[in-house]
Amino acid sequence: MSRTEILDSVDEAVAGIEDGSTVLVGGFGFAGMPFDLIDGLIRQGATDLTVVSNNAGNGEVGLAALLKAGRVRKVVCSFPRQSDSYVFDELYRSGRIELEVVPQGNLAERLRAAGAGVGAFFTPTGAGTMLAEGKETRSIDGRDYVLEYPIKGDVALIGAHHADEMGNLVYRKTARNFGPVMATAAATTIVQVAEVVAIGSLDPEVVVTPGIFVDRVVAVPARRYTVEGAR
């Protein structure tokens, strides 16, 4: 038993997400993307969302489906423009969605800062560029830095490989990407995994996200999108 809830269905896992929430969505392209949780969020109905994710959706599945359903007010991401990001493109060009572009490493670090209780930090990334316009800058030891603030989520939706019943998580290969930092940065972290294993089944040395960061877990059958589908 632990504070982490192990739930039987995706719909239970995404219950209670409120309109206007900031939702952190893991994944880099399709790797680590919590497709089932996003589908659940679409069914759940929350709207006026701010979504923080590396990309802004591919094709018409996952994040793109959420955007297409009209639930997203703003996207905070590093790279919205992909060959198959036409759902986002159309919303953006027609002025129906806001966009904040954040360099990928600053995105990861701002999420980490939220999880780590850091109030703000000086990063060299973006200094001297148009993405630093209007931001506080400072020269430290002869190098230029931009002050960046944490990005906190109300909810994080994450895909991981296995969870134990305490919510400890392990990931698989490059599907790890944003999951571990987003798990720390949200008030409520919801994780879909391929399998929930018994307490004691994960070696304590190899846990990547300790259960303290994990609120809800649901196991879903593997549903792999082909990589071709992701382009």
Binding site: S2, G117, T184, G200, P204, G211
Partner: protein
């Protein structure tokens, strides 16, 4: 009758909600662990890099690579995890722990904490994780005697020792009474063989009752 340290540790343990993630400070707070029921699902954090720490190691269990923050050999429970120091203090600073139990030299009515430095001019300063722990849990409980060895109150209108953090303490467990502290001042929650008026006689501050 005032509580013994053992009895007081049990009172603190009773008040920690089930399934909480908890850090117990070095010294007397460590004793709270002895009163946590396994079925409570409470998970102990030690800032040197572990969650789900078990009891002190005995005999062959002793492993120099597995200690608590007081450098005492401990054990691991099923479901444990290890992590490095930056990740460990991220858990604290980021507010992920539910409860932290600390000792103190002084606590003020508004929850300022002094527990790292007596202010003695010849003392070698040493803070360890005290300041990180003080700011790093949703609730900070202090476990201390109400009076010091000279009979002076340790719950004070304002700390005279150098502070560890401001306004961080939410509750103070002492041998004579339990107090909530915070912006509204001290509130007596529970007494042990003493009346609230008697407490008012000892303490130099207004005391309210819930």
């Amino acid at each position: 009758m005032p509580l013994t340290p053992h009895e007081l540790a049990a009172v603190v343990a009773r008040d920690i909600p089930p399934f909480s993630y908890v850090n117990l400070g070095i010294g007397q707070p460590t004793k709270v662990a002895e009163h946590l029921r396994p079925e409570s699902g409470i998970v102990l954090h030690t800032e040197n890099g572990m969650l789900n720490m078990g009891p002190a190691a005995v005999g062959d269990e002793v492993d120099p690579d597995l200690t608590n923050a007081g450098k005492v050999p401990v054990t691991e429970l099923p479901g444990a995890s290890y992590f490095h120091h930056a990740d460990s203090f991220m858990m604290m600073r980021g507010g992920h722990l539910d409860v932290c139990v600390l000792g103190a030299f002084q606590v003020s009515a508004v929850g300022d904490l002094a527990n790292w430095h007596t202010g003695a001019p010849d003392a070698i300063p040493a803070v360890g994780g005290a300041m990180d722990l003080a700011i790093g849990a949703k609730q900070v409980f202090v476990l201390m005697t109400l009076l010091d060895k000279q009979g002076r109150p340790k719950l004070v209108p304002a700390c005279t020792y150098p502070v560890t953090a401001l306004g961080c303490v939410s509750r103070v467990y002492t041998d004579h009474a339990v107090f909530d502290v915070g912006p509204g001042g001290a509130v007596v929650r529970e007494t042990f063989g003493v009346s609230v008026d008697e407490l008012r006689g000892w303490l130099d501050m207004p005391l309210t009752q819930p």
